[in-house]
Symmetry: C2
Subunit: 151 residues, 2 copies
């Protein structure tokens, strides 16, 4: 088994997940980068923002698209601490994200390797390269601790 | 076959779809209503807004959630002129939309009766009541005319 080093972008996404937890939100963080430079980032914030779409990925993608001046994030990478849900996987398709890196897999809400498997549908217009498990143990521990405290 | 009358909300969604077309965007419009009152609406606007997530449903849901002061749009209805994609279907789940009405079905991008079938996944946390085909002929004609002009 290869243990991948946690990249700078995933390290930042994990820090954003911790920020989400500190605000009482499910700890997920995301970073969009272009040629090694962060162009968008986000914490999961639906309660804080009164916005059901404010998942970390959506916040990061929207910020990156504004920064890049285009709705297509061609050649951009997305690092996120948790497997994206159907909403976020769909947004990744629309944004044409080139490479997706995620930490923990999510059997309950994920739609990459679970549920709707958005990128595996024959109708899917764009499939990013996908790398999972990077930063997984830390991402999963953050989520476990968050839900344990709330029980 | 029953021909349903086009509701006031769907009539408004169709008007928003025409607004989208006038801006050079794929003509889709959406309206969120609560007890007969419109609380959010949106035109499809990803190019105009430099926002890949700016589908009509997402714009309408975000506006409604701000208006209602909650990320959960309990007992709200969404009227949209086209079958929602995976991103928008996921947002409908997160927002807990009670009833979804849509016009034209979308074999290429839809994720309600096509592709990822988001609401039919066993993991799906919330399934709205779904009514399709309302305003279908007008919604489909708008899309057909839009793409014909661009060919």
């Amino acid at each position: 088994m290869i243990i991948w080093p946690t990249s700078e972008a995933m390290t930042r996404a994990l820090a954003l997940a911790r920020e989400a937890a500190a605000s009482g939100e499910v700890p997920v963080g995301a970073v969009v980068s272009f040629r090694g430079r962060i162009v968008g980032e986000g914490c999961n914030a639906p309660r804080t923002d009164h916005d059901p779409t404010a998942h970390a990925e959506i916040v990061a993608i929207r910020q990156a698209a504004k920064a890049m001046g285009s709705e297509r994030l061609v050649d951009c990478e997305l690092h996120v601490t948790l497997e994206p849900c159907a909403m976020c996987a769909g947004a990744i398709v629309h944004a044409r994200i080139a490479r997706l890196y995620y930490g923990a897999s999510d059997p309950k809400g994920g739609a990459v390797e679970h549920g709707g498997r958005v990128f595996d549908q024959p109708q899917c217009l764009h499939r990013p390269e996908i790398y999972s498990g990077i930063g997984e143990s830390e991402a999963a521990a953050l989520l476990r601790d968050f839900f344990r405290e709330r029980r």
